[in-house]
Symmetry: C2
Subunit: 217 residues, 2 copies
């Protein structure tokens, strides 16, 4: 499997579709659904080791959420059976804790048994070794499969009638026909309406073929 290509393709794959709501189209916010390939979020301390003290991430491509970006920097992830994922992309900006988000398909290859967690909720999750050009970091924990979630601002939350931490459903039509029943709501004033799923979920529901996408309370 051509790992780098898959990483790049998945990161850039975007499906932006108008929400097919029950209200008139002109009042429905535009819903973007993105598939996130495996990636790493990195702390200041860990980036110092991986890329050298004081190294700043370089923007390769801005992401849909304001201020977030795919960095040019990548790392190599070393799993428990000495199997590796190379060219694992770092997403910026820096975070308080390092965290690695993989799909289950990635985890099977590495020999890691991952829990499904919300980003940031990493207590008790598996760790891994991460190698950069300047050094190696041992993450004691922080490797997860990220739970599917939807970013929105307070106005969009009001439109859907949901609050922070609620679960919504995302129905994907077409030949695959999959409904995700536990899409967690994350509300922030700076957010744009945007579902994040991983590459397994995108492939299962045929996101690249989807003609009909509905976010439902």
């Amino acid at each position: 499997m051509p790992v780098d290509r898959a990483v790049v393709e998945e990161i850039v794959r975007e499906v932006v579709l108008k929400r097919l709501g029950r209200r008139p189209a002109n009042s429905a916010p535009t819903l973007a659904v993105h598939a996130s390939a495996r990636h790493m979020h990195v702390s200041r301390a860990d980036l110092d080791v991986l890329y050298g003290p004081g190294h700043e991430l370089t923007v390769d491509r801005p992401l849909y959420q304001e201020g977030n970006f795919a960095a040019k920097e990548t790392v190599t992830l070393i799993g428990p059976r000495s199997r590796v994922i190379s060219n694992l992309r770092i997403l910026g900006p820096l975070r308080k804790q390092s965290q690695i988000e993989l799909a289950f398909t990635d985890a099977i290859g590495l020999g890691l048994d991952l829990p499904i967690r919300l980003s940031g909720d990493i207590a008790g999750t598996p760790g891994a070794f991460v190698m950069g050009p300047k050094g190696m970091v041992e993450l004691k924990e922080g490797v997860i499969r990220a739970a599917i979630h939807v970013h929105m601002n307070p106005e969009e939350a009001a439109f859907y009638g949901v609050k922070q931490g609620d679960m919504m459903k995302l129905r994907i039509g077409g030949d695959a026909g999959v409904t995700f029943n536990r899409v967690l709501v994350r509300i922030d004033p700076t957010s744009r309406l945007n579902v994040h799923m991983d590459s397994d979920e995108a492939n299962a529901c045929g996101l690249h073929l989807a003609k009909e996408i509905e976010l439902i309370k």
Copy 2:
């Protein structure tokens, strides 16, 4: 990615759970949900070329449906960009037409743009070159992503109140929480109640973690 290991592991991964139905447990048939890894079904003529004239498939492991088996024989699939999948397992018995079933994750790696089709419905689908120890076959068509489906016998169909070709839903509980809305019903007197999904679908819904599975009309 350790391709062979993934193939073997996915093929043998089985989740057999008691259907959590609305009727008393003693009247509900046992529902088996299996993840099929990528594989090939082969015709007599193609097996003659791949493994030599008159070659008979060797049973490696019986599958859940009576008479079906994972063969010891494997082939190498060569995609349009000269990328390959090696150790692609043949499933027996022989069929009238050769057919290769891949997950979208596999297809991205190969550079193939697959349609979602029911097994056997291959008109107009992509082809590929397939290499065996004795020769190479060009499939003009037949590479698909198999649509999720449920095998059942007429008594089980009566229990659910469904007929040949109907669509059912499969709800997978747990942290992932996915419902497959288009599970095609295939009825045969020799069948055992059994959903077949592919490895992307299994990884998206966290089948290996699922504690609650429901097949719904």
